[in-house]
Amino acid sequence: MGTTADLLPGTLDMLILKAVSLKPLHGYGVLLRIQQISGNALAIPQGSLYPALYRLERQGLIDAEWGESENARRAKYYRVTTAGRRRLKDEVAGWKRLTGAIDAALAATPDEV
């Protein structure tokens, strides 16, 4: 397992949006893709993935369609919608602002106080 980090609350949605914005994926594919692009550094409880997908679908941020998987089984593929792309952009910007601020705060030295 090595060094994995727990997800911060609220970040799973952003990661799912990011994953499906690269390419339409089925649920399991979303999981694999997040692990892959995060360099296996994030631990995602598998069961929590689906409620998040259903919530995003209901919010109209992703679309679902049944298709055929790599091993020729019927699978539900998720694709980001225009609204989802917009949301992803906002969330990424927000995230960068947040991490930037936190980084700056953590980098503070006694001189600067």
Partner: protein
């Protein structure tokens, strides 16, 4: 928003599909994970276990998915609906009563909505109807004009186009003979400018109206196409004979387009150039003014004010010309002051003026009916809500929140309302059919398309939903108010029930229902009595058992000789019809919607100003046939021939007006183009133009044999027995004598009068219907409230009977309660109706709006009905068996 609603509905209706898809998806995940583990070297059994373990509990994931998919609301709604259906099925009588109450209220309102929609709101189905304007001048919507004026307007710059139409009755040859069909002559650009939709073929192309070379074409309406051709797709190109000319059908207009004249339903349209074939002077007649209506379409971007200024300029120029001098000097000069616009989007609005007031009255009545129905429903649900306290307490105890409980009640209410709305639709259809059948044949025929369309459905849905929510809220709030301790609620004694005799509110509801009911009953009673006054009014003639048939011989193929032969032989033939007592003909009949005035100069009477009398040309037997009594002198006989001195019979009013107390017999006057006519007799006054007219017209009857041959007469036959049997015989006789003559109508005098009373009859019949329903509903309400009170007080009644109260005492007591409610309602209603009925006085004929007889009759009727409704539960109370009730404790 949209996907949420979609998911909600999908969750509601495609639940099984959702569940299946979700299982498949999760299973796919677990399987794919297992395969990956196997591929990485984990033994299959171990892989399956690990995949399941890492995924977590499938059921709990599913539940989370359902929640995040927004299914909880849908699930609860489904529960609520199922529960509501079960509750409704458990109390079928209350449910049926509620649904029927609502159906009646909603149905009546929907029908009236359809009616109002058709009269007031529906636009003529043409392209961009709101851009169209009637060109009028100050005489209002029925502005007259003529072709030269139309040409002036057509040249006005800010108009994208101006067109003209002239509505009339066309004689059309059909299988059964010549039939009257409503038609119009239109300018060649009519279909273009107005943007008339075509079902088949084309409209007229914009050829100059003055060129008659291509005038023999026609456009027919969709309805005429169905009637005459059975919607034969090859009808375009066929010919029909209209006004004696063969014309080729070039197009069929779209459904629901019947021209711009809301008082007629145009079936055949001919180009105006066809008028030029008979009357080439038509296009240059500056002095004649006729009901030629002008419709203009504004150029885009031009304001009405700009267009009006330009139009008025053209109009003023036209009116300034020497030909119009007589108009400028006529008493009506004021009506030709300036050009004016009227909106044409909804057609000409003569009918709206005529129907607005009665319709408003009916809307108010239907609204009251709906209120009563709602009160009824609220009452019944209140009663049921009170008896459901136990259930509510149990549900609250096991954790249902108040909001959830109220939602449950609201669901039930909506479901009931929707059922009521559904059942109300046939009621609405039936009511609107009744409205139309009553109005049919009135002075302005009601050519309405009162079909229930999407708008009416939307309307019904909205009122159903509104009533549903409003009448369930009160019972819901009451039933859930205060936390009734479960223990108390479950105790089987009466202590679970509020300590009132009636469910609070029920009493008030019944009384207000009764009060509203009184208002409706009084109104309808007044209207019905007024109608009876009109029907039994002595109009100066005997209306019973007279058949009228109008013969139209206005075609160019008729010479005066042919006309006269027809009129003469027709009367001779009709005399020999079995059952014919007397036979006559005339140019007009009383209350036939005609209005005519002729200038008169009475010799020896100072001619002050312009005098007019109402003329009628009749055969000698006219007076006997209609039962108009002779007061002085004699009726002209067969001596009144063309070669003899001209004679006339005048009415009492005419004689009194010109001669006062002097003897009018032998006096002479000039009428129209006749210089000297001698009065030979005076007859009784007749109400000729309107039944309600306060001053009878000054009638002058001249003999048919001495006047220019009219282009149509009405023949009338007084029958010994059943007059209706004669109708077919008269029609057949006319056909046989001259197949070219057109029978415009055959009807009894009674029907003719009824048609004139269409408005009054509509009001009387509908309001009586409404108030009968209101009475029925109020009785159901009273019955329901009392029955419930009796059931709840069974124990108390039992105790009292055990202590010696007789059943008569109990009966009396319950009846007293019932009467109290009714009396309170009746009192309030009586006062209300005194106030409300003032609005009715405009509709009443020779009747006071505070007619005491009507009020007394209404109250009596109400008391009797209410006693009957109260008696059943009261008797049930009197039959309570003390032993059984007390044992039940």
């Amino acid at each position: 928003m949209a996907p949420r609603l979609r998911f909600f509905l999908r969750g509601l209706f495609r639940r099984r599909h959702f569940e299946g898809a979700m299982s498949d998806e999760l299973q796919f995940h677990i399987d794919a994970f297992t395969e990956d583990l196997v591929r990485s070297g984990v033994p299959r059994v171990e892989a399956v276990r690990r995949a399941q373990l890492e995924f977590g509990g499938v059921e709990s994931v599913k539940e989370q998915c359902r929640q995040s998919h927004g299914l909880r609301l849908a699930d609860e709604l489904r529960q609520d609906l199922r529960y509501a259906v079960r509750t409704m099925a458990r109390t079928p009588v209350v449910t049926a009563a509620v649904i029927v109450s609502l159906a009646l209220g909603i149905g009546a309102n929907t029908a009236l909505f359809g009616f109002i929609d058709a009269v007031f709101f529906r636009t003529v189905p043409v392209r961009n109807a709101h851009e169209l304007l009637f060109l009028a001048h100050h005489s209002g919507p029925a502005a007259s004009s003529n072709y030269p004026l139309y040409e002036r307007y057509a040249a006005v710059e800010p108009f994208a186009g101006v067109t003209a139409y002239l509505v009339g009755s066309f004689r059309v040859e059909q299988a059964g003979g010549v039939e009257p069909v409503t038609g119009q002559f239109v300018s060649g650009n009519y279909h273009d400018v107005a943007g008339v939709p075509m079902t088949l073929g084309r409209g007229f192309s914009s050829e100059p109206d003055r060129d008659p070379s291509r005038a023999l074409v026609a456009v027919i309406s969709d309805a005429f196409w169905a009637r005459a051709f059975g919607r034969d797709p090859h009808a375009v190109g066929r010919t029909i004979t209209v006004n004696g000319r063969r014309v080729e059908i070039v197009g069929i207009t779209g459904r629901r387009f019947y021209g711009f004249d809301s008082q007629s339903r145009v079936d055949i349209t001919l180009p105006i150039s066809v008028i030029g074939l008979d009357d080439p002077a038509f296009f240059d007649d500056h002095t004649g003014w006729m009901p030629l209506r002008l419709v203009a379409r504004l150029k885009p971007g031009i304001t009405e004010a700009q267009a009006l200024a330009a139009a008025d300029n053209a109009f003023q120029q036209f009116m300034g010309e020497p030909e119009q001098q007589w108009v400028r000097q006529s008493p009506n000069a004021d009506r030709f002051r300036s050009a004016a616009f009227l909106p044409a989007a909804r057609g000409s609005d003569g009918r709206r003026e005529l129907t607005e007031k009665p319709v408003r009255l009916l809307v108010a009545m239907a609204g009251i009916l709906l209120l009563i129905a709602c009160a009824n429903v609220a009452n019944l649900l209140l009663v049921r809500g009170a008896s459901r306290r136990k259930e509510v307490a149990v549900r609250a105890a096991i954790g249902a929140g108040r909001a959830r409980l109220i939602r449950q009640f609201a669901t039930e209410g909506l479901l009931l309302a929707l059922c009521g709305g559904l059942v109300g639709l046939p009621v609405a259809t039936w009511t609107s059919r009744a409205i139309l059948s009553i109005l049919d044949g009135g002075p302005t025929p009601f050519v309405l398309d009162v079909t229930l369309d999407a708008r009416a459905l939307a309307f019904t849905t909205v009122i159903a939903a509104l009533t549903g929510i409003s009448f369930t809220l009160v019972p819901a709030l009451r039933a859930t108010a205060g936390s009734v301790a479960l223990v108390t609620a479950l105790r089987p004694s009466e202590s679970t029930l509020p300590r009132r005799r009636f469910p609070a509110g029920g009493h008030v509801l019944v009384s207000s229902q009764i009060a509203l009911c009184v208002v409706l009953l009084v109104s309808s009673g007044l209207l019905a009595r007024s109608l009876r006054n009109l029907k039994t009014l002595d109009a100066g003639f005997d209306r019973d058992q007279v058949v009228l048939a109008n013969v139209d011989t206005s075609g160019p193929e008729f010479s005066p000789g042919r006309r006269m032969t027809l009129y003469d032989t027709l009367l001779d033939r009709l005399r020999f019809l079995p059952g014919a007592v007397s036979v006559a003909s005339s140019t007009r009949t009383p209350i036939d919607f005609s209005s005519r005035n002729n200038r008169i100069v009475v010799h020896g009477v100072n001619p002050v100003g312009f005098h007019a009398v109402s003329p009628n040309v009749v055969t000698p037997e006219y007076f006997r046939t209609l039962g108009i009594r002779l007061l002085r002198g004699r009726v002209f006989g067969d001596d009144a021939r063309a070669d003899r001195p001209k004679v006339a019979v005048v009415s009492e009013s005419m004689a009194r007006f010109y001669f006062g107390d002097e003897d009018p017999i032998g006096r002479t006057f000039a009428l129209g183009s006749e210089d000297s006519i001698t009065i030979v007799g005076v007859v009784e006054d007749v109400r000729h133009e309107q039944l309600t007219e306060s001053t009878p017209p000054k009638m002058v009857y001249t003999p048919l044999a001495q006047s220019t041959v009219p282009r149509g007469v009405t023949v009338m036959v007084r029958a010994a027995g059943n007059s209706r049997a004669l109708e077919g015989a008269i029609r057949a006789e006319i056909r046989r004598l001259d197949p070219g003559a057109m029978v415009s109508y055959v009807r009894t005098m009674d029907q003719q009068l009824d048609a004139a009373l269409a408005r009054e009859r509509l009001l009387a019949v509908l309001s009586s219907g409404f108030s009968a329903l209101a009475l029925l509903l109020a009785c159901v309400g009273l019955y329901g409230t009392l029955s419930y009170s009796v059931v709840r007080r069974a124990r108390e009644i039992g105790v009292r009977m055990a202590l010696g109260a007789g059943s008569a005492t109990v009966l009396r007591q319950i009846m007293r309660q019932s009467l109290m409610m009714v009396a309170t309602g009746a009192l309030i209603g009586g006062v209300l109706s005194l106030w409300v009925s003032r609005a009715l006085s405009a509709f009443l004929f020779e009747l006071s709006a505070r007619d005491p007889a009507t009020l007394t009759a209404v109250i009596t009727l109400l008391l009797v009905t209410a006693c009957a409704a109260g008696y059943v539960p009261a008797r049930r109370a009197a039959r309570v068996d003390p032993a059984r009730v007390l044992k039940a404790e």
